[in-house]
Amino acid sequence: MRGVTLAVLLLLGPMPWRDAAAAEPASPQVIVLASTTSVENSGLLAKILPLFIQKTGIEVRVIAQGTGQALATAARGDADLVLVHDPEAEDQFIAEGHASQRRQIAWNDFIIVGPKTDPAHVAGGRDAVAALTALAAARASFISRGDKSGTDALEKRLWRKAGIDPVARGGGAWYRDIGGGMGAALNAASGMAAYTLSDRGTWLSFNNKGPLVVVVEGDPALLNRYDVILLNPAKHPYAKHAAARELADWLTSPEGQAAIGTYMIAGEPLFHPSAASPK
């Protein structure tokens, strides 16, 4: 029996139970940031957050989810602040009284990517709605996120603008709702030689492009804004507001903005800082 006790101690001793205790609300030095996959998977946060941690000693734990899920996580009280990119969903989050402040930190753009062979002949276009209309007419394979993320919300808005209900227009035959993240959608598009809508950050850092290239870019409707949102203390008493505010302040400070603006992949900046002049 003593052997068993020893095994218990050996097993549980080094385990992070104590870390779990340290994550209790009493400690102000650890905050949870509910963020979108595009800022996390692109490597941006891994690059800039160490600077913030070094400066303030505040550890930031990043949960990367779609915008819809990230806002829901914060609404349940499981995050201390959010960094997302869907203005309409953010508006609703604010209307529900969850937020105390929203600040834009950066922008980049969405792009439509598709196979080099370009069966729907949309390459080189600058009009996203026209491109989607052409895709529907050609019944060219299109991958939809279908996950209520910021990218998914924009895609749905673009179809509405085009006056097309892709599901009614043949549904799964060419319009494929995969219910997954940006990376999953790009993997699917790469594997099926299909078109999809992507944010530029994820696209640039994505390593399985296969036959895919950028086919449509430069439409003002494809603007992608990233906002940091602080929570309303009245509604979220457990959130660590002071530490969260420090992070939001730093992201919008000249130092944080410079860190965002100098993050590049293959010589191309992924995010353009815009705290001083929101788009």
Binding site: A7, V8, L11, L12, P14, M15, P16, W17, D19, A20, A21, A23, E24, P25, V32, T37, N41, G43, A46, R61, V62, I63, A64, R76, G77, D78, G181, M182, G183, A184, L186, N187, S190, S205, F206, N207, N208, K209, Y238
Partner: protein, 218 residues
């Protein structure tokens, strides 16, 4: 391997093993006595509990993850524990998944020896809790297999810990959640490489457990 370094990999392996071994241990702590009670005690509803336990062998990780998420969420009944998005929460999720496996298989392992030696043990005057302990020793090889099956479930599982742990870099990111992440980044060679490392780890742990069991038999 542009996305992470060797140190990160060692941390991730350490966390994977730590969480899964702790969860397996916790599950064994509950599952083995439970299996023993079902084998040895005669009580009303025993059959129902046995059927339920076996029915839970196919407990879907994603559902367990979601249920625990709601329980451990700040707005859920156990939010005050502060276990959401922590390794502790992940251990809880995996232990929930492994307990029915260990319990059901341990029950089966002890049924035979109980039929064979039960009367003799009882005549010797051993109490039932003591009989359960003796049966666990007598049926050691299949009981060990039950525990290893539980470990197999925990080390390979991703659906529950992704939801409960949040896949936080350097804190709740394990082998399986890293593989999901690297796949989503399109780093397929890295993902498959990590997959091979994970399979190797799983084999190493299970084989070690098996060999220890064999040595104990001699």
């Amino acid at each position: 391997m542009d996305t992470f370094h060797k140190d990160d990999l060692l941390d991730i392996i350490g966390l994977s093993l730590g969480v899964s071994l702790s969860a397996t241990f916790l599950a064994a702590l509950i599952g083995l006595p439970l299996g023993g009670v079902l084998a040895v005690y005669d009580f009303r509803g025993r059959r129902a509990v046995t059927i339920l336990l076996n029915g839970l062998l196919g407990l879907p990780p994603v559902v367990v993850g979601l249920a625990l998420y709601l329980l451990l969420s700040r707005s859920g009944p156990l939010g005050w524990l502060g276990l959401l998005f922590t390794p502790g929460g992940m251990i809880l999720a995996q232990a929930t998944l492994a307990t029915p496996i260990i319990g059901a298989l341990a029950h089966r392992a002890m049924q035979g020896p109980w039929r064979e030696y039960g009367d003799a043990l009882r005549v010797d005057g051993a109490s039932r809790p003591r009989v359960i302990r003796m049966l666990l020793v007598i049926a050691r090889p299949p009981v060990l297999t039950a525990v290893l099956a539980g470990f197999g479930r925990t080390i390979s599982e991703v659906g529950a810990i992704l939801i409960v742990g949040g896949n936080i870099a350097g804190y709740t990111r394990t082998m399986t959640t890293t593989i999901v992440l690297e796949t989503s980044k399109g780093n397929l060679p890295v993902a498959i490489g990590l997959g091979l490392v994970l399979i190797g780890l799983s084999i190493a742990v299970s084989a070690t457990g098996f060999l220890i069991g064999e040595r104990g038999e001699e």
